[in-house]
């Protein structure tokens, strides 16, 4: 059976800061004549993390009807919110994949995503396997990483049916080349000199690995249509030249516009490639980080049936915001006074959370079997005033339903890391009413009747007990 990539999806936070805005804010500590950095970087809102980014990328990959194909899910990230609580398990729960799905967190290297992808492609069996890579990378103010990094996620569905890019083979090498590292529980990366990393690491380690795989597959550099890496553009171009590939195999990396999203970057670049690949084209994917992963894919005829680009709206709908303090505040790098209202205890009653886990993780409401009324939350008795039947409700998943604004406010009194707190009543397409927070909307944006979608976000952070509480929020449909 042909195993390969059957679908892909991406998610990049809407917020972007021009790199020059960071440089301008810190210009006083730079020598005169320092060149202004170009481009923008993405950054996650305060209520986004590797879990929520992953959920959005996986939703993009799977659509609303692809969930039943999924038997397993791997979450690759070096910035997982929980060291001991299945992060992938929560992603699967938010996706409503059901309890029978196999989940796995993989971490510890920038190669986490490619290693997981190869593992999924090598796995026998016909079940769909989601590999989702996601990073929300902390960067120290004033560091080079602050300019270079970004936040984002990408997902790939590996399957044996509906394959758009057939798996040809892969190789991996483990080399303890420490280009950068982050101690367990440290906040920030520690990076070594870029020139050394590029010359001694990327060039010397990647080239032979790619050559080795091509030889094993009886292919040559000239056969390659797409060389997909998360390396600097110049390094990729140099690699292509040395391999004997035409220069066009290297596309302009997304990094200049979005920043480098760590282990997720290679899947973002792969998604960009799949959005432009044609039938029969050979795609070579390179993962780099304490060694090298190389895998080869060939686009099938099914690639022509791909849906509209996911990346185009990501690139077009970014909110370019030059406020450096807002960037720092969302990233948790600026200790702004939050007022006494922020002192409210955000303790989670975990027995309640478990009892209501479908409601809270999956936004599953109830549908009255007597009268058909859809309601949130599911309750012992139907909310329809003309029905009120007891114990008659089926599950009604609402997360993927379109919705619209019924009422809203912008609340400047309520505590939120990103004032104002925007919330209101929302009507889902099936008729449920949800009293819910909005996210990624600013003052003056909402109107009654405006179309909405639901997104999985951090609701509260319990700093006393180190727990992140998640729930769904409504956001504008931007297309």
């Amino acid at each position: 059976m042909t195993r390969g990539v059957a679908a892909w999806g991406v998610y990049v936070p809407r917020r972007r800061i021009p790199r020059h805005a960071i440089a301008d804010a810190l210009a006083w500590r730079q020598p005169p004549g320092t060149r202004k950095p170009a481009g923008e970087r993405s950054y996650a809102a305060w209520d986004e993390d590797a879990i929520t980014l992953a959920v959005e990328a996986a939703r993009d990959a799977l659509g609303t009807d692809g969930r039943s194909r999924v038997g397993s899910l791997t979450l690759a990230s070096t910035t997982l919110p929980f060291a001991d609580r299945s992060n992938a398990g929560l992603v699967a729960a938010a996706l409503n994949l059901g309890a029978r799905v196999s989940t796995e967190d993989t971490t510890g290297s920038q190669r986490a995503a490619t290693t997981a992808l190869i593992s999924a492609l090598e796995r026998p069996g016909a079940g769909g396997h989601v590999v989702v890579a996601s990073e929300r990378r902390r960067t120290q103010p004033g560091s080079s990483e602050e300019l270079a990094y970004g936040d984002g996620a990408a997902a790939v569905l590996v399957a044996s049916e509906g394959v758009v890019a057939q798996y040809l083979g892969a190789c991996s090498e483990a080399v303890d080349f420490v280009d950068h590292y982050r101690e367990s529980q440290a906040d920030y990366d520690y990076s070594l000199e870029e020139r050394w990393v590029r010359v001694e690491g990327m060039q010397k380690l990647v080239l032979p690995a790619v050559r080795g795989l091509l030889e094993r597959l009886s292919l040559e550099g000239g056969d390659v249509s797409h060389l997909v890496t998360a390396l600097p553009a110049a390094t990729s171009a140099d690699l292509a030249r040395r391999l004997g590939c035409p220069p066009a195999v290297v596309r302009e990396p997304l990094v200049s516009r979005l920043g480098h999203a760590g282990s997720a970057q290679i899947l973002l670049e792969l998604a960009a490639t799949l959005e432009s690949a044609a039938e029969g084209e050979l795609i070579v994917v390179v993962g780099f980080g304490q060694g090298v992963d190389v895998l080869a894919l060939r686009a099938t005829g099914a690639i022509a049936n791909r849906r509209p680009s996911s990346l185009a709206p990501v690139l077009a709908s970014g909110l370019s915001d030059p406020s450096y303090t807002r960037f720092l505040a969302h990233g948790g790098e600026l200790n702004l006074a939050a007022g006494m209202r922020a002192e409210r205890d955000a303790r989670t009653a975990h027995s309640v959370h478990y009892r209501k886990h479908a409601t809270l993780n999956g936004l599953v409401g109830g549908r009255c079997t007597r009268c058909g009324t859809v309601q949130f939350p599911k309750a012992p008795a139907c909310v329809n005033p003309d029905c009120r039947a007891f114990g008659e409700q089926d599950d009604a998943p609402l997360a993927d339903e379109p919705a619209q604004v019924k009422t809203y406010t912008e609340d400047w009194l309520a505590y939120t890391p990103s004032p104002p707190l925007v919330y209101g009543n929302v009507a889902s397409a099936s008729g449920a009413n949800l009293f819910i927070e909005f996210t990624d909307v600013g003052p003056g944006e909402l109107e009654v009747g405006m179309p909405l979608r639901f997104v999985f976000r951090v609701k509260d952070v319990d700093r006393v007990r180190g727990f992140h509480r998640y729930f769904w929020k409504a956001t504008r449909v931007r297309s």
Partner: protein, 401 residues
């Protein structure tokens, strides 16, 4: 079939503390202040009181749990005291308990006390509180102004009103209440304001600015009730009796059903219909001489004018701007300044409203006295538009109708 409690219970004494930032007073001081006035008014001995109902909402902030804070503050002679709580309808709920006890014949004289000591939090606005172990995990982290502000967007959309026009009508609600409170020595906020000041105030929760929001106040109010017969035997000549006491709590429709559009309060019309029936009122617009409604925020008062049946749907902004609810208007509303300016010590508010009607009916309202009113209505909306308790009390001169 039950006929309700119309004219079965007389109010013989009422008291109300000065409302405001009472830094020098605790809940016990406030209750004693209100009680002293009520007791002198009622002309009975403290030990004639046979039962008490204490209304307090923020129990951890204001007092503590149970009926003990009332029993201990007033040093009552170990008579039964029940603590009740129904959000911002708490004060009316306390009155309901005491009135039902008298109406049933269980006791001759009972007291209803409402109190709240809010200004011990260390910050402005109402105290923070948990909304419940499940609710905290999904409901928005809303504040009261934000929850009530929802009415603004929905009302504007439903009736096709431009938000600027709606805000101008809302502003007049506040301007009117400040003007009334300026004549009330017990009110928290006694300054007069202009529409322009309301519109220019800092935004709290769109479309509510600072001056669209009521005061956060300390205070207590109480009522001593008995039967009309006993009241007369105690020497009371002009009797104020309870014509209706009704309550309508949400059952979840607003929070979870598509039929509610968020532009009005679902429970107020239900409570009002029951109360009008109990009081024998068929045309509230002509029969009510004054009203005290739950103006926690200007927009609440605006939509409640329609929910009480006093303005036609969509007409409240125009009626308000026409002065219909001003002190000189057809149906004076908040002659004491309302929650907006008298203040809103949550547990006391329902009783404070009855206190104003009581004084107006007895001709004791000083500079803000209306010309011979005989019946008035109070209204509370406890909670938020999404889930709330509406309470209505109608009180009038005995024999006036």
């Amino acid at each position: 079939m039950a006929t309700g409690i119309r004219d079965k219970v007389a109010i013989i004494g009422m008291g109300c503390s000065r409302f405001g930032e009472r830094w020098e007073a605790g809940a016990d001081d406030l209750m004693v202040e209100a009680f002293a006035e009520a007791l002198a008014d009622a002309r009975v001995e403290r030990d004639r009181i046979e039962a008490g109902w204490l209304g307090v909402f923020y129990q951890d902030q204001s007092t503590s749990r149970s009926g003990l804070p009332l029993s201990m503050a007033l040093r009552l002679p170990n008579v039964p005291v029940t603590r009740v709580e129904n959000l911002c309808a708490t004060g009316t709920e306390a009155l309901r308990g005491a009135a039902y006890a008298v109406a049933s014949g269980a006791v001759d004289i009972a007291i209803a006390m409402g109190v709240e000591k809010l200004k011990d939090t260390g910050f402005g606005g109402l105290p923070e509180r948990t909304k419940g172990t499940f609710e905290d995990q999904w409901q928005p982290g809303f504040t009261p102004p934000g929850a009530f502000a929802q009415l603004g967007a929905a009302y504007a959309a439903r009736h096709g009103v431009a938000m600027d026009d709606l805000r101008r009508a809302m502003a007049h609600v506040s301007v009117k209440s400040h003007a009334n409170a300026a004549l009330n020595p017990k009110a928290h906020l006694r300054n007069t304001i202009t529409t322009e000041q309301v519109l220019a105030a800092p935004m709290i929760a769109y479309p509510l600015g600072l001056l669209d929001c009521c005061g956060v106040s300390d205070g207590a109010a109480c009522a001593i009730v008995t039967t009309p017969e006993l009241a007369r035997s105690l020497g009371h000549r002009d009797l104020v009796t309870i014509k209706a006491l009704q309550l309508a709590p949400s059952n979840g429709v607003e929070m979870g059903h598509a039929s509610w559009d968020g532009s009005h309060t679902l429970t107020t019309p239900i409570a009002a219909a029951r109360a009008y029936r109990e009081a024998g009122i068929t045309d509230p617009r002509s029969e009510l001489d004054l009203i005290e409604v739950h103006d926690c925020f200007s927009v609440t008062e605006l939509v409640v004018m329609e929910d009480l049946g006093l303005s036609d749907p969509g007409r409240a902004p125009a009626d308000i701007l026409d002065g219909r609810y001003d002190r000189s208007g057809a149906i004076p509303c908040q002659t004491d300044g309302g929650l907006k300016c008298f203040g809103h010590p949550v547990g006391a508010s329902g009783l404070r409203m009855v206190y104003e009607i009581y004084n107006q009916l007895l001709g004791r309202a000083g500079e803000r006295q209306l010309a011979s009113p005989s019946i008035g209505l109070t209204h509370n909306l406890g909670g938020i538009p999404n889930r709330n308790v509406a309470s209505i009390a109608i009180v009038g001169l005995h024999g006036s109708r």
